[in-house]
Protein backbone atom coordinates (compact mmCIF):
# COMPACT_ATOMS: atom_id res chain seq x y z
CA UNK A 1 0.00 0.00 0.00
CA UNK A 2 1.21 3.52 -0.72
CA UNK A 3 3.11 5.74 1.68
CA UNK A 4 2.89 9.53 1.60
CA UNK A 5 5.27 11.63 3.68
CA UNK A 6 5.93 8.66 5.94
CA UNK A 7 2.26 7.76 6.45
CA UNK A 8 1.06 4.38 5.27
CA UNK A 9 -2.39 4.51 3.72
CA UNK A 10 -4.82 1.60 3.84
CA UNK A 11 -6.16 1.90 0.28
CA UNK A 12 -5.14 3.13 -3.14
CA UNK A 13 -8.38 5.09 -3.38
CA UNK A 14 -8.48 8.72 -2.29
CA UNK A 15 -12.05 9.98 -2.39
CA UNK A 16 -13.40 13.51 -2.53
CA UNK A 17 -16.28 14.65 -0.34
CA UNK A 18 -18.14 17.14 -2.58
CA UNK A 19 -21.33 16.86 -4.63
CA UNK A 20 -22.92 13.81 -3.00
CA UNK A 21 -26.71 13.71 -2.77
CA UNK A 22 -26.37 13.69 1.02
CA UNK A 23 -23.76 13.18 3.75
CA UNK A 24 -25.31 9.77 4.39
CA UNK A 25 -24.62 8.71 0.80
CA UNK A 26 -21.08 10.08 1.13
CA UNK A 27 -20.56 7.94 4.21
CA UNK A 28 -21.87 4.85 2.39
CA UNK A 29 -19.49 5.47 -0.50
CA UNK A 30 -16.53 5.63 1.86
CA UNK A 31 -17.61 2.55 3.75
CA UNK A 32 -18.25 0.40 0.70
CA UNK A 33 -15.04 1.40 -1.08
CA UNK A 34 -12.73 1.32 1.91
CA UNK A 35 -11.15 4.54 0.63
CA UNK A 36 -7.94 5.40 2.47
CA UNK A 37 -7.94 9.19 2.43
CA UNK A 38 -10.76 11.76 2.40
CA UNK A 39 -10.11 14.95 0.49
CA UNK A 40 -12.08 18.03 1.36
CA UNK A 41 -12.46 21.38 -0.33
CA UNK A 42 -12.26 24.42 1.89
CA UNK A 43 -12.88 27.16 -0.55
CA UNK A 44 -16.59 26.60 -1.08
CA UNK A 45 -17.55 25.32 2.32
CA UNK A 46 -15.78 27.96 4.40
CA UNK A 47 -18.64 30.39 4.71
CA UNK A 48 -17.46 32.21 7.81
CA UNK A 49 -16.98 31.58 11.46
CA UNK A 50 -17.80 28.00 12.45
CA UNK A 51 -19.75 27.70 9.24
CA UNK A 52 -18.90 24.28 7.91
CA UNK A 53 -18.54 22.75 11.36
CA UNK A 54 -21.28 20.13 11.08
CA UNK A 55 -20.08 18.89 7.70
CA UNK A 56 -16.45 18.82 8.74
CA UNK A 57 -17.35 16.89 11.87
CA UNK A 58 -18.88 14.26 9.59
CA UNK A 59 -15.70 14.11 7.51
CA UNK A 60 -13.61 13.71 10.65
CA UNK A 61 -15.97 11.01 11.88
CA UNK A 62 -14.98 8.87 8.88
CA UNK A 63 -11.81 8.22 10.86
CA UNK A 64 -9.52 8.59 7.84
CA UNK A 65 -6.55 10.83 7.17
CA UNK A 66 -7.96 14.07 5.75
CA UNK A 67 -6.30 15.75 2.80
CA UNK A 68 -7.66 19.30 2.53
CA UNK A 69 -7.35 20.94 -0.86
CA UNK A 70 -7.18 24.41 -2.29
CA UNK A 71 -9.73 23.70 -5.03
CA UNK A 72 -10.89 26.77 -6.86
CA UNK A 73 -7.85 28.89 -6.03
CA UNK A 74 -6.63 30.87 -9.01
CA UNK A 75 -3.64 32.59 -7.44
CA UNK A 76 -0.66 31.76 -5.24
CA UNK A 77 -1.92 34.06 -2.53
CA UNK A 78 -5.39 32.48 -2.45
CA UNK A 79 -3.90 28.99 -2.33
CA UNK A 80 -1.50 29.84 0.48
CA UNK A 81 -4.26 31.49 2.52
CA UNK A 82 -6.54 28.50 2.02
CA UNK A 83 -3.77 26.10 3.03
CA UNK A 84 -3.31 27.96 6.29
CA UNK A 85 -7.04 27.83 7.01
CA UNK A 86 -6.98 24.10 6.29
CA UNK A 87 -4.09 23.48 8.63
CA UNK A 88 -5.95 25.14 11.49
CA UNK A 89 -9.28 23.51 10.77
CA UNK A 90 -8.10 19.96 10.25
CA UNK A 91 -4.96 20.03 12.33
CA UNK A 92 -2.90 18.54 9.50
CA UNK A 93 0.12 19.76 7.58
CA UNK A 94 -1.03 17.89 4.47
CA UNK A 95 -2.37 20.05 1.67
CA UNK A 96 -3.44 19.14 -1.83
CA UNK A 97 -2.28 22.15 -3.74
CA UNK A 98 -4.38 23.36 -6.65
CA UNK A 99 -3.48 26.59 -8.39
CA UNK A 100 -5.82 26.88 -11.33
CA UNK A 101 -4.44 28.58 -14.43
CA UNK A 102 -7.42 28.56 -16.73
CA UNK A 103 -11.03 29.00 -15.68
CA UNK A 104 -12.52 26.87 -18.43
CA UNK A 105 -10.17 23.88 -18.48
CA UNK A 106 -9.20 24.17 -14.79
CA UNK A 107 -5.69 23.38 -15.98
CA UNK A 108 -3.00 23.86 -13.32
CA UNK A 109 -0.94 27.05 -13.49
CA UNK A 110 2.55 25.48 -13.54
CA UNK A 111 4.37 28.67 -12.54
CA UNK A 112 2.06 29.54 -9.67
CA UNK A 113 2.06 25.92 -8.57
CA UNK A 114 5.83 25.76 -8.14
CA UNK A 115 5.89 29.09 -6.32
CA UNK A 116 3.07 28.11 -3.95
CA UNK A 117 4.66 24.69 -3.36
CA UNK A 118 7.92 26.35 -2.32
CA UNK A 119 6.22 28.83 0.00
CA UNK A 120 4.13 26.14 1.67
CA UNK A 121 6.97 23.63 2.00
CA UNK A 122 9.14 26.26 3.67
CA UNK A 123 6.25 26.88 6.01
CA UNK A 124 6.19 23.25 7.09
CA UNK A 125 3.39 21.94 4.87
CA UNK A 126 3.51 18.52 3.21
CA UNK A 127 2.38 19.43 -0.27
CA UNK A 128 0.47 17.16 -2.68
CA UNK A 129 0.60 19.19 -5.92
CA UNK A 130 -2.13 18.80 -8.56
CA UNK A 131 -0.02 18.96 -11.69
CA UNK A 132 0.07 17.90 -15.33
CA UNK A 133 2.04 14.98 -16.79
CA UNK A 134 4.87 17.39 -17.64
CA UNK A 135 8.14 15.86 -16.38
CA UNK A 136 10.05 19.15 -16.20
CA UNK A 137 7.32 20.62 -14.04
CA UNK A 138 7.35 17.45 -11.93
CA UNK A 139 11.07 17.90 -11.37
CA UNK A 140 10.62 21.52 -10.30
CA UNK A 141 7.94 20.53 -7.82
CA UNK A 142 10.25 17.92 -6.30
CA UNK A 143 13.02 20.55 -6.06
CA UNK A 144 10.53 22.83 -4.32
CA UNK A 145 10.16 20.20 -1.62
CA UNK A 146 7.22 18.08 -2.73
CA UNK A 147 7.59 14.36 -2.06
CA UNK A 148 4.43 13.34 -3.92
CA UNK A 149 3.18 14.21 -7.40
CA UNK A 150 -0.45 14.21 -8.45
CA UNK A 151 -0.65 14.37 -12.24
CA UNK A 152 -4.06 14.76 -13.85
CA UNK A 153 -5.68 12.04 -15.90
CA UNK A 154 -7.83 14.61 -17.69
CA UNK A 155 -9.26 18.01 -16.73
CA UNK A 156 -11.19 18.07 -13.44
CA UNK A 157 -14.70 16.70 -13.63
CA UNK A 158 -14.54 15.58 -17.26
CA UNK A 159 -14.53 11.83 -16.64
CA UNK A 160 -12.43 11.25 -19.75
CA UNK A 161 -9.87 8.93 -18.19
CA UNK A 162 -6.15 9.01 -18.93
CA UNK A 163 -5.87 11.54 -21.74
CA UNK A 164 -2.15 11.19 -22.37
CA UNK A 165 -1.05 7.68 -21.52
CA UNK A 166 2.33 8.14 -23.16
CA UNK A 167 3.03 11.26 -21.10
CA UNK A 168 1.95 9.62 -17.86
CA UNK A 169 4.08 6.54 -18.56
CA UNK A 170 7.06 8.79 -19.22
CA UNK A 171 6.49 10.72 -15.99
CA UNK A 172 6.22 7.47 -14.03
CA UNK A 173 9.49 6.24 -15.55
CA UNK A 174 11.24 9.56 -14.96
CA UNK A 175 10.69 9.49 -11.19
CA UNK A 176 10.31 5.79 -10.33
CA UNK A 177 10.63 6.27 -6.57
CA UNK A 178 8.28 9.22 -6.09
CA UNK A 179 4.75 8.32 -4.92
CA UNK A 180 2.34 9.39 -7.64
CA UNK A 181 -1.42 9.75 -7.59
CA UNK A 182 -3.58 10.15 -10.66
CA UNK A 183 -5.76 13.07 -9.70
CA UNK A 184 -8.77 14.26 -11.66
CA UNK A 185 -10.49 13.31 -14.86
CA UNK A 186 -11.35 9.71 -14.09
CA UNK A 187 -14.87 8.62 -15.00
CA UNK A 188 -14.90 4.83 -14.91
CA UNK A 189 -13.30 2.09 -12.85
CA UNK A 190 -11.44 0.92 -15.97
CA UNK A 191 -9.59 4.26 -15.94
CA UNK A 192 -8.46 3.56 -12.40
CA UNK A 193 -7.35 0.05 -13.32
CA UNK A 194 -5.30 1.50 -16.16
CA UNK A 195 -3.62 3.93 -13.78
CA UNK A 196 -2.60 0.99 -11.60
CA UNK A 197 -1.35 -0.97 -14.61
CA UNK A 198 0.86 2.00 -15.48
CA UNK A 199 2.40 1.81 -12.03
CA UNK A 200 0.78 4.75 -10.27
CA UNK A 201 0.38 4.40 -6.53
CA UNK A 202 -3.16 5.65 -6.03
CA UNK A 203 -5.97 7.60 -7.65
CA UNK A 204 -7.99 10.54 -6.38
CA UNK A 205 -11.53 11.04 -7.61
CA UNK A 206 -14.76 12.69 -6.64
CA UNK A 207 -17.24 13.50 -9.41
CA UNK A 208 -17.20 10.01 -10.93
CA UNK A 209 -18.49 8.60 -7.65
CA UNK A 210 -20.53 11.49 -6.26
CA UNK A 211 -22.52 12.10 -9.43
CA UNK A 212 -23.14 8.45 -10.28
CA UNK A 213 -26.73 7.29 -9.92
CA UNK A 214 -25.58 5.00 -7.08
CA UNK A 215 -22.44 6.59 -5.61
CA UNK A 216 -21.72 3.81 -3.11
CA UNK A 217 -21.85 1.11 -5.80
CA UNK A 218 -19.60 3.15 -8.07
CA UNK A 219 -17.14 3.70 -5.24
CA UNK A 220 -16.94 -0.04 -4.67
CA UNK A 221 -16.49 -0.55 -8.41
CA UNK A 222 -13.49 1.77 -8.33
CA UNK A 223 -12.01 -0.01 -5.32
CA UNK A 224 -12.23 -3.38 -7.04
CA UNK A 225 -10.78 -2.01 -10.28
CA UNK A 226 -7.84 -0.59 -8.35
CA UNK A 227 -7.20 -3.99 -6.86
CA UNK A 228 -7.42 -5.66 -10.28
CA UNK A 229 -5.10 -3.14 -11.89
CA UNK A 230 -2.57 -3.38 -9.09
CA UNK A 231 -2.55 -7.20 -9.25
CA UNK A 232 -1.93 -6.96 -12.98
CA UNK A 233 0.95 -4.55 -12.45
CA UNK A 234 2.59 -6.87 -9.94
CA UNK A 235 2.00 -9.91 -12.14
CA UNK A 236 4.20 -8.51 -14.94
CA UNK A 237 1.71 -8.46 -17.81
CA UNK A 238 2.53 -9.63 -21.32
CA UNK A 239 3.40 -7.13 -24.00
CA UNK A 240 0.99 -6.63 -26.89
CA UNK A 241 2.30 -8.19 -30.09
CA UNK A 242 1.35 -8.04 -33.72
CA UNK A 243 1.59 -11.72 -34.58
CA UNK A 244 -1.21 -13.99 -33.49
CA UNK A 245 0.10 -16.83 -31.35
CA UNK A 246 -2.22 -19.71 -30.49
CA UNK A 247 -2.34 -20.62 -26.86
CA UNK A 248 -2.63 -24.26 -27.87
CA UNK A 249 -0.12 -25.55 -30.43
CA UNK A 250 -1.79 -26.81 -33.60
CA UNK A 251 1.01 -28.93 -34.97
CA UNK A 252 0.84 -32.55 -33.96
CA UNK A 253 -2.83 -32.60 -33.10
CA UNK A 254 -4.40 -35.94 -33.69
CA UNK A 255 -6.65 -36.02 -36.71
CA UNK A 256 -9.94 -37.31 -35.53
CA UNK A 257 -12.65 -38.55 -37.79
Amino acid sequence: MPEFYGTHVASRLMLGTAQYPSPRVLEDAFRRSGAGIATVSLRREAGGEGAGTAFWEMIRALGLPVLPNTAGCHSVREAVTTAHMARELFDTDWIKLEVIGHADTLQPDPFGLVEAARILTEDGFRVFPYTTEDGVLGGRLLEAGCEVLMPWGAPIGTGRGLNNVYGLRTLRAQFPDVPMVIDAGLGLPSHAAQAMELGFDAVLLNTAVARAGDPAAMAEGFARALEAGRLAREADPMEPRDMAAPSTPVLGLAVLG
Partner: protein, 327 residues
Amino acid sequence: MSTVTILGAGVAGLCVATELVARDVPVRVVDPAGGPGAHGCSWWAGGMLAPFCEGETAEATVVAMGQEAAEWWTRAGAEVTCNGSLVVALGRDRQELDRFGRRTEGHAALDRAGLATLEPQVAERFDRALHFRTEAHLDPRRALRALVEGLARRGVTIAREGTPGPRVIDCRGLAARDALPDLRGVRGEMAVLRAPEVSLSRPVRLLHPRHPLYVVPRGDGVFMLGATQIESGARGPVRLRSAVELLGAAYALDPAFGEAEVLELGADARPAFPDNLPRVVARGDTIHVNGLFRHGFLLAPALARRAADHVTGQAATERMHENHAER
Protein backbone atom coordinates in the same frame (compact mmCIF):
# COMPACT_ATOMS: atom_id res chain seq x y z
CA MET B 1 -58.75 18.71 23.12
CA SER B 2 -55.94 20.76 24.68
CA THR B 3 -54.23 23.47 22.66
CA VAL B 4 -51.21 22.48 20.60
CA THR B 5 -48.31 24.93 20.70
CA ILE B 6 -46.42 25.24 17.45
CA LEU B 7 -42.93 26.67 17.72
CA GLY B 8 -41.77 28.49 14.62
CA ALA B 9 -43.67 30.41 11.93
CA GLY B 10 -41.70 29.30 8.91
CA VAL B 11 -43.17 27.14 6.20
CA ALA B 12 -43.17 24.03 8.41
CA GLY B 13 -44.83 25.67 11.41
CA LEU B 14 -47.47 27.51 9.39
CA CYS B 15 -48.35 24.39 7.38
CA VAL B 16 -48.70 22.34 10.56
CA ALA B 17 -50.87 25.05 12.13
CA THR B 18 -53.05 25.28 9.02
CA GLU B 19 -53.49 21.52 8.86
CA LEU B 20 -54.42 21.26 12.54
CA VAL B 21 -56.86 24.18 12.35
CA ALA B 22 -58.51 22.52 9.37
CA ARG B 23 -59.09 19.52 11.62
CA ASP B 24 -60.52 21.76 14.37
CA VAL B 25 -57.59 21.24 16.71
CA PRO B 26 -56.97 24.38 18.80
CA VAL B 27 -53.48 25.74 18.12
CA ARG B 28 -51.29 28.67 18.92
CA VAL B 29 -48.14 29.64 17.08
CA VAL B 30 -45.12 31.06 18.88
CA ASP B 31 -42.24 32.69 17.02
CA PRO B 32 -39.96 35.30 18.60
CA ALA B 33 -39.77 37.09 15.24
CA GLY B 34 -43.53 37.49 15.15
CA GLY B 35 -44.13 36.00 11.71
CA PRO B 36 -42.51 34.91 8.48
CA GLY B 37 -39.78 37.19 7.16
CA ALA B 38 -36.19 37.62 6.08
CA HIS B 39 -34.93 35.97 9.30
CA GLY B 40 -36.16 32.54 8.18
CA CYS B 41 -35.00 30.41 5.30
CA SER B 42 -38.56 29.95 3.95
CA TRP B 43 -38.37 33.59 2.89
CA TRP B 44 -35.57 32.81 0.45
CA ALA B 45 -37.10 29.69 -1.09
CA GLY B 46 -37.69 29.17 -4.79
CA GLY B 47 -41.25 27.93 -4.46
CA MET B 48 -41.03 25.21 -7.08
CA LEU B 49 -43.46 22.36 -6.47
CA ALA B 50 -41.39 20.04 -8.65
CA PRO B 51 -41.24 16.59 -7.08
CA PHE B 52 -40.16 14.79 -10.24
CA CYS B 53 -37.28 17.18 -10.95
CA GLU B 54 -36.09 16.93 -7.36
CA GLY B 55 -35.94 13.17 -7.89
CA GLU B 56 -32.75 13.67 -9.89
CA THR B 57 -30.80 13.71 -6.64
CA ALA B 58 -33.43 13.26 -3.92
CA GLU B 59 -34.68 9.88 -2.80
CA ALA B 60 -37.95 8.37 -4.01
CA THR B 61 -39.68 9.31 -0.78
CA VAL B 62 -39.27 13.02 -1.64
CA VAL B 63 -40.90 12.46 -5.03
CA ALA B 64 -43.77 10.57 -3.42
CA MET B 65 -44.36 13.03 -0.58
CA GLY B 66 -44.20 16.00 -2.93
CA GLN B 67 -47.13 14.84 -5.05
CA GLU B 68 -49.74 16.33 -2.75
CA ALA B 69 -48.09 19.75 -2.44
CA ALA B 70 -49.78 21.71 -5.24
CA GLU B 71 -53.26 20.62 -4.21
CA TRP B 72 -52.59 21.31 -0.53
CA TRP B 73 -51.33 24.83 -1.18
CA THR B 74 -54.29 25.62 -3.42
CA ARG B 75 -56.67 24.40 -0.73
CA ALA B 76 -54.82 26.54 1.83
CA GLY B 77 -55.50 29.66 -0.23
CA ALA B 78 -52.12 30.13 -1.90
CA GLU B 79 -51.93 31.11 -5.54
CA VAL B 80 -50.43 28.06 -7.26
CA THR B 81 -49.48 28.14 -10.94
CA CYS B 82 -49.85 24.70 -12.50
CA ASN B 83 -47.90 25.25 -15.69
CA GLY B 84 -45.36 22.46 -15.46
CA SER B 85 -41.63 23.07 -15.53
CA LEU B 86 -38.82 22.82 -18.05
CA VAL B 87 -35.26 21.55 -17.95
CA VAL B 88 -32.72 22.63 -20.57
CA ALA B 89 -28.97 22.42 -21.17
CA LEU B 90 -26.67 24.34 -23.49
CA GLY B 91 -25.15 22.59 -26.50
CA ARG B 92 -22.02 21.15 -25.01
CA ASP B 93 -23.82 19.99 -21.86
CA ARG B 94 -26.43 17.95 -23.72
CA GLN B 95 -25.41 14.78 -21.89
CA GLU B 96 -26.51 16.47 -18.68
CA LEU B 97 -30.01 16.59 -20.11
CA ASP B 98 -29.87 12.92 -21.07
CA ARG B 99 -28.74 12.03 -17.58
CA PHE B 100 -31.42 14.17 -15.95
CA GLY B 101 -34.01 12.41 -18.12
CA ARG B 102 -32.70 8.97 -17.17
CA ARG B 103 -32.86 9.73 -13.48
CA THR B 104 -36.30 11.32 -13.33
CA GLU B 105 -39.88 10.42 -14.22
CA GLY B 106 -42.95 12.30 -15.30
CA HIS B 107 -41.40 14.15 -18.23
CA ALA B 108 -41.71 14.34 -21.99
CA ALA B 109 -38.90 15.27 -24.38
CA LEU B 110 -39.50 18.41 -26.42
CA ASP B 111 -37.78 19.48 -29.62
CA ARG B 112 -37.40 23.14 -30.56
CA ALA B 113 -40.88 23.35 -32.07
CA GLY B 114 -42.43 21.80 -29.00
CA LEU B 115 -40.47 24.13 -26.74
CA ALA B 116 -41.51 27.13 -28.84
CA THR B 117 -45.18 26.46 -28.14
CA LEU B 118 -44.47 26.75 -24.40
CA GLU B 119 -41.64 29.26 -24.08
CA PRO B 120 -40.79 30.93 -27.41
CA GLN B 121 -37.88 32.91 -25.93
CA VAL B 122 -36.25 29.79 -24.52
CA ALA B 123 -36.67 28.02 -27.87
CA GLU B 124 -34.50 30.68 -29.50
CA ARG B 125 -31.48 29.35 -27.66
CA PHE B 126 -32.33 25.73 -26.86
CA ASP B 127 -33.36 22.99 -29.24
CA ARG B 128 -34.26 20.36 -26.67
CA ALA B 129 -35.94 20.32 -23.30
CA LEU B 130 -37.60 18.06 -20.78
CA HIS B 131 -41.15 19.06 -19.92
CA PHE B 132 -42.52 18.07 -16.51
CA ARG B 133 -46.16 18.76 -17.27
CA THR B 134 -47.66 18.13 -13.83
CA GLU B 135 -45.31 20.33 -11.80
CA ALA B 136 -46.24 23.70 -10.35
CA HIS B 137 -44.83 26.74 -8.60
CA LEU B 138 -45.84 29.46 -6.18
CA ASP B 139 -44.46 32.65 -4.69
CA PRO B 140 -43.20 31.59 -1.25
CA ARG B 141 -43.69 34.94 0.44
CA ARG B 142 -47.23 35.33 -0.81
CA ALA B 143 -47.96 31.72 0.11
CA LEU B 144 -46.74 32.28 3.66
CA ARG B 145 -48.88 35.41 3.87
CA ALA B 146 -51.89 33.40 2.68
CA LEU B 147 -51.32 30.93 5.51
CA VAL B 148 -50.95 33.70 8.09
CA GLU B 149 -54.18 35.30 6.86
CA GLY B 150 -55.99 31.98 6.78
CA LEU B 151 -54.97 31.30 10.36
CA ALA B 152 -55.98 34.81 11.43
CA ARG B 153 -59.44 34.22 10.00
CA ARG B 154 -59.70 31.23 12.33
CA GLY B 155 -58.53 33.37 15.25
CA VAL B 156 -54.93 32.12 15.32
CA THR B 157 -52.30 34.82 15.58
CA ILE B 158 -48.55 34.48 15.96
CA ALA B 159 -47.32 35.28 19.46
CA ARG B 160 -43.75 36.45 20.01
CA GLU B 161 -43.52 34.58 23.26
CA GLY B 162 -45.48 32.16 25.32
CA THR B 163 -44.97 29.21 27.61
CA PRO B 164 -45.58 26.03 25.66
CA GLY B 165 -48.40 23.91 26.98
CA PRO B 166 -48.24 20.16 27.36
CA ARG B 167 -48.40 19.48 23.63
CA VAL B 168 -45.74 21.00 21.40
CA ILE B 169 -44.87 20.72 17.74
CA ASP B 170 -41.37 22.05 17.26
CA CYS B 171 -40.88 23.51 13.77
CA ARG B 172 -37.98 25.80 14.56
CA GLY B 173 -35.70 24.62 11.76
CA LEU B 174 -32.02 25.06 12.53
CA ALA B 175 -32.82 26.66 15.89
CA ALA B 176 -33.90 23.19 17.05
CA ARG B 177 -30.32 21.93 16.94
CA ASP B 178 -30.41 21.99 20.76
CA ALA B 179 -32.83 19.06 20.59
CA LEU B 180 -31.81 17.52 17.25
CA PRO B 181 -28.01 17.55 17.23
CA ASP B 182 -27.59 15.91 13.81
CA LEU B 183 -29.32 18.81 12.08
CA ARG B 184 -26.94 20.87 9.99
CA GLY B 185 -27.22 24.00 7.88
CA VAL B 186 -26.85 23.88 4.10
CA ARG B 187 -26.33 27.36 2.76
CA GLY B 188 -28.34 28.58 -0.20
CA GLU B 189 -28.00 31.84 -2.07
CA MET B 190 -30.48 33.41 -4.46
CA ALA B 191 -31.26 36.54 -6.42
CA VAL B 192 -34.45 38.34 -7.39
CA LEU B 193 -34.45 40.23 -10.69
CA ARG B 194 -36.87 42.42 -12.54
CA ALA B 195 -36.45 41.67 -16.22
CA PRO B 196 -39.36 43.03 -18.27
CA GLU B 197 -37.75 41.81 -21.48
CA VAL B 198 -37.78 38.20 -20.30
CA SER B 199 -40.91 36.20 -20.76
CA LEU B 200 -41.27 32.89 -18.90
CA SER B 201 -44.46 31.38 -17.58
CA ARG B 202 -43.02 28.37 -15.78
CA PRO B 203 -39.83 27.48 -13.89
CA VAL B 204 -36.84 26.63 -16.06
CA ARG B 205 -33.81 24.69 -14.86
CA LEU B 206 -30.56 25.16 -16.71
CA LEU B 207 -28.27 22.17 -16.23
CA HIS B 208 -24.58 22.88 -16.11
CA PRO B 209 -21.73 20.82 -14.70
CA ARG B 210 -20.52 23.73 -12.56
CA HIS B 211 -23.27 26.30 -12.25
CA PRO B 212 -26.76 24.78 -12.39
CA LEU B 213 -29.52 27.34 -12.13
CA TYR B 214 -33.25 27.57 -11.88
CA VAL B 215 -35.42 30.54 -12.67
CA VAL B 216 -38.89 30.85 -11.19
CA PRO B 217 -41.28 33.49 -12.54
CA ARG B 218 -42.93 35.57 -9.83
CA GLY B 219 -45.14 37.62 -12.12
CA ASP B 220 -44.89 41.27 -13.24
CA GLY B 221 -41.52 40.63 -14.88
CA VAL B 222 -39.95 39.51 -11.60
CA PHE B 223 -37.87 36.33 -11.46
CA MET B 224 -36.19 34.40 -8.69
CA LEU B 225 -32.82 32.81 -9.47
CA GLY B 226 -31.55 29.98 -7.34
CA ALA B 227 -29.75 28.51 -5.73
CA THR B 228 -26.38 27.51 -4.44
CA GLN B 229 -26.03 24.52 -2.14
CA ILE B 230 -23.02 24.84 0.12
CA GLU B 231 -22.13 22.66 3.10
CA SER B 232 -22.10 25.52 5.55
CA GLY B 233 -24.39 26.81 8.24
CA ALA B 234 -23.31 30.40 7.57
CA ARG B 235 -26.24 32.78 7.11
CA GLY B 236 -24.39 35.94 6.08
CA PRO B 237 -24.75 37.89 2.84
CA VAL B 238 -24.33 36.39 -0.62
CA ARG B 239 -20.72 35.84 -1.67
CA LEU B 240 -19.54 37.51 -4.84
CA ARG B 241 -18.51 34.19 -6.36
CA SER B 242 -22.03 32.81 -5.94
CA ALA B 243 -23.63 35.98 -7.26
CA VAL B 244 -21.40 35.89 -10.33
CA GLU B 245 -22.29 32.26 -10.95
CA LEU B 246 -26.04 32.74 -10.53
CA LEU B 247 -26.24 35.92 -12.58
CA GLY B 248 -23.88 34.54 -15.23
CA ALA B 249 -25.96 31.41 -15.60
CA ALA B 250 -29.12 33.51 -15.97
CA TYR B 251 -27.42 35.49 -18.70
CA ALA B 252 -26.54 32.21 -20.45
CA LEU B 253 -30.17 31.10 -20.21
CA ASP B 254 -31.39 34.31 -21.81
CA PRO B 255 -29.19 37.31 -22.64
CA ALA B 256 -32.22 39.51 -22.03
CA PHE B 257 -31.43 39.08 -18.32
CA GLY B 258 -28.47 41.36 -19.01
CA GLU B 259 -30.76 44.36 -18.72
CA ALA B 260 -32.44 43.13 -15.54
CA GLU B 261 -32.57 45.11 -12.31
CA VAL B 262 -31.11 43.14 -9.41
CA LEU B 263 -33.78 43.64 -6.76
CA GLU B 264 -32.39 41.33 -4.09
CA LEU B 265 -29.53 39.05 -3.25
CA GLY B 266 -30.37 36.76 -0.37
CA ALA B 267 -28.87 33.87 1.55
CA ASP B 268 -29.74 31.58 4.41
CA ALA B 269 -29.06 28.10 5.74
CA ARG B 270 -31.55 25.28 5.28
CA PRO B 271 -32.00 22.69 8.02
CA ALA B 272 -31.06 19.16 6.94
CA PHE B 273 -30.46 15.77 8.49
CA PRO B 274 -27.52 13.62 7.32
CA ASP B 275 -29.62 11.85 4.66
CA ASN B 276 -31.18 15.16 3.55
CA LEU B 277 -34.62 13.67 4.24
CA PRO B 278 -37.21 15.31 6.50
CA ARG B 279 -38.38 13.80 9.77
CA VAL B 280 -41.46 13.82 11.93
CA VAL B 281 -40.06 12.73 15.27
CA ALA B 282 -42.24 12.12 18.30
CA ARG B 283 -40.32 12.53 21.52
CA GLY B 284 -42.37 12.62 24.70
CA ASP B 285 -45.03 15.31 24.33
CA THR B 286 -43.07 17.07 21.62
CA ILE B 287 -43.27 16.33 17.93
CA HIS B 288 -40.42 17.63 15.82
CA VAL B 289 -41.04 18.51 12.19
CA ASN B 290 -37.69 19.37 10.69
CA GLY B 291 -34.96 18.74 8.11
CA LEU B 292 -36.90 19.97 5.09
CA PHE B 293 -33.58 20.84 3.37
CA ARG B 294 -34.24 22.37 -0.06
CA HIS B 295 -37.78 21.01 -0.17
CA GLY B 296 -39.62 23.25 2.28
CA PHE B 297 -42.65 24.25 0.21
CA LEU B 298 -42.70 20.89 -1.55
CA LEU B 299 -42.70 18.69 1.55
CA ALA B 300 -44.20 20.81 4.34
CA PRO B 301 -47.78 19.81 3.39
CA ALA B 302 -47.05 16.07 3.59
CA LEU B 303 -45.17 16.50 6.87
CA ALA B 304 -47.94 18.70 8.29
CA ARG B 305 -50.47 16.02 7.47
CA ARG B 306 -48.39 13.37 9.21
CA ALA B 307 -47.81 15.51 12.27
CA ALA B 308 -51.54 16.26 12.41
CA ASP B 309 -52.36 12.57 12.03
CA HIS B 310 -50.18 11.93 15.01
CA VAL B 311 -51.82 14.65 17.11
CA THR B 312 -55.32 13.45 16.25
CA GLY B 313 -54.43 9.83 16.88
CA GLN B 314 -54.67 8.72 13.26
CA ALA B 315 -51.03 7.83 13.00
CA ALA B 316 -51.19 4.50 14.77
CA THR B 317 -50.10 2.60 11.70
CA GLU B 318 -47.55 5.15 10.55
CA ARG B 319 -44.00 4.79 11.59
CA MET B 320 -42.41 7.52 13.64
CA HIS B 321 -38.84 6.73 14.16
CA GLU B 322 -35.88 8.89 14.93
CA ASN B 323 -33.54 7.23 12.51
CA HIS B 324 -35.78 6.64 9.56
CA ALA B 325 -37.43 8.97 7.19
CA GLU B 326 -41.14 8.58 6.81
CA ARG B 327 -41.84 6.39 3.85
